[in-house]
Amino acid sequence: MSAEQSNIVLDISGVNKSFGGLQALSDINLQIEEGKTHAIIGPNGAGKSTLLNTCIGLLQADTGRIDFEGHDLTKGFMPHDINQMGISRVFQTPQIFPDLSILENVMIPAFAKRDGSFKLNIFKALRDEKAIEEEALHFLEDLGMADQHHNHAGSLSRGNKRRLELAMCLIQHPKLLLLDEPTAGMARHDTNQTIELLMKIKARGMTKVIIEHDMHVVFSLADKISVLAQGAIIAEGHPDEIKGHPKVREAYLGSAEV
């Protein structure tokens, strides 16, 4: 796949990472194309989360490069630097601000987008931040949560927390959205709602990397799938190709479970 066909947003090349004697990632090469939903699947312990964490500055890769808009993300950026570059992340357990109202939860990322990583705006009153408030309300309306925007975010159900977290990422209009098992631990109903929501985002052409266990989610959303097993990419291709791939079957059903 060459860069002429479509823009590469994230270019991971030759990334290695080991913890002590364990090779968690070995020579990972991965290109994420603009506007596509790229799923990374694999059995437990395959290195999916490690890969995601090296992209956002939580872990340092031993060797290799991760290019994002001319920055090499392996060069010790802080998580907030990486967010300010335009990468937002959804966590396995929804990370929201439980003590704030739902509206405030969505306003905060909007402030980050507007004000950068630090601004000492003491003398500006929140109530005068009409533009941000309206934008936040608009995003909540999209999720159907606008009517309860004054409620505490901590009181939401897990599915709604996930939706709120997504809204918090989307209000920043990220160039790349990373989703770490967005439906983990969710009831079927919530999972379907989340898929619907992600389809909606997909329609807007946002570039996404999604890590997922749930094959139903993966096959309904992904444009492209990379299969990770024991720290290496063993297959890559369109969902249909992956479904019948012998190596993938072996990784999932054979002795590759770590």
Partner: protein
């Protein structure tokens, strides 16, 4: 309980006006509870200001500093030096104190904020104790050690000298000719308190304040949302340090001396107690807490057995003696016992402090539906936990 809310500017103005009136008529309501003398009223205002500033750090960000008395001490020393070197006017003393305690807080905050939780608290405690010990020992040329720093008749006071203001035998701080002791001192402190409260309200209502609460709520999410939490915490630390320095300066204004005992760790603990007792993270809580503790310290400690005897002497002698025996451990020098018990009761039954208690009473008596609201909020909270 909502900490920060989008509110109308009219409501804020009303709060500020009501607050100012309450503060300015303090000599009146103070006299009703036996606290209507300037010494105690000054302490209400000064320690109220200290707690209001401390609440910006502890209440909003959740970072428990055990060393804020160090900034109070620095503020006092700087103010007294300003009195000695430049002028007895209070305004330059206050300005210098804010600047110096701010710089001091910047250095200590920068170092301590490399850690979170209990480690942060211990680091601040260590720095404050270090400052206290230094003030007693090697810094004696600046702090005058155990004796404490005083203003003297023959201090240089270059600005006063240039303006031809003569030095008094016992110089007192002044504001353009008004001597700031007694009620004048109280009103000076009261005005500074109102300004300090206004600023704190501004911070509570600003995006900055909301971000501080967000850091308290979920620091990880804050980082991944694109905020660098360090400068935010440092800013909150420095602001609260400056408040402490200002409070220290006011202590020196109403009584131009400074001693190292203001920096000791129990003084740092006291402001923590005030904030929690009144209501952590609320705008009024720290003030109420500060007033309560200072009231108990001054009034309860003044009650002795003889006074108790006169209270109960309408009863038969044996009963009077019994009551005096029972009550006396809780008053006089035993007032800490009462304070401790009150603190325990509040923590057990009203974790939100006295402000939460007031809200509950208000809900119970004034609005039936409000009660339900509080309950449902409580349920939500429990559900979240």
């Amino acid at each position: 309980m909502k900490i920060i809310e989008l509110s109308t500017s009219k409501r804020d103005l009303l709060i500020l006006v009501v607050f100012s009136v309450i503060v300015l008529i303090a000599p009146f309501w103070g006299s009703l509870i036996g606290a209507g003398y300037p010494d105690l009223l000054q302490k209400f205002a000064i320690f109220g200001l200290f707690a209001v500033g401390y609440n910006i750090l502890f209440g909003l960000t959740g970072y428990l500093s055990f060393g804020h008395a160090a900034f109070l001490g620095v503020g006092s020393y700087v103010a007294v030096w300003s009195f000695k070197l430049f002028t007895m006017n209070a305004l330059p003393a206050i300005a210098f104190s804010i600047v110096f305690s701010g710089i001091f807080a910047l250095v200590i905050g920068f170092l301590c904020l490399r850690r979170t939780g209990i480690y942060f608290s211990i680091l601040t405690l260590a720095f404050a104790q270090m400052s206290y010990k230094l003030a007693y020992s090697v810094l004696t040329p600046i702090t005058n050690g155990e004796t404490g720093l005083f203003v003297l008749k023959d201090d240089p006071r270059v600005i006063d000298g240039a303006l031809g203001i003569a030095s008094a035998e016992n110089p007192l701080a002044s504001l353009f000719g008004i001597t700031l002791n007694g009620y004048e001192g109280f009103y000076f402190c009261a005005v500074v308190l109102i300004l300090g409260f206004w600023l704190s309200m501004k911070i509570f209502r600003s995006p900055f304040g909301m971000k501080l609460v967000a850091i308290k709520s979920n620091q990880t999410r804050m980082e991944y949302t694109g905020f660098n939490h360090r400068p935010y915490l440092l800013a909150a630390f420095v602001i609260s340090g400056m408040y402490a320095g200002l409070a220290g300066a006011l202590l020196a204004v109403v009584d131009p001396t400074a001693g190292a005992e203001r920096m000791v760790w129990t003084a740092s603990g006291e402001v923590v107690l005030m904030t929690i007792l009144g209501g952590l993270g609320t705008m009024f809580g720290p003030l109420i807490g500060a007033a309560t503790i200072k009231y108990m310290e001054n009034i309860f400690s003044g009650i002795n057995d003889t006074l108790l005897g006169t209270w109960f002497d309408f009863l038969p002698q044996a009963l009077t003696d019994l009551l005096v025996t029972i009550v006396s451990p809780f008053v006089g020098s035993g007032w800490h016992l009462t304070l401790g018990l009150t603190f325990m009761m509040i923590m057990i039954f009203l974790p939100g402090g006295m402000v939460e208690g007031a809200q509950k009473i208000k809900a119970k008596f004034f609005n039936k539906s409000k009660t339900e609201q509080v309950e449902s909020e409580q349920l939500e909270k429990d559900g979240a936990a």
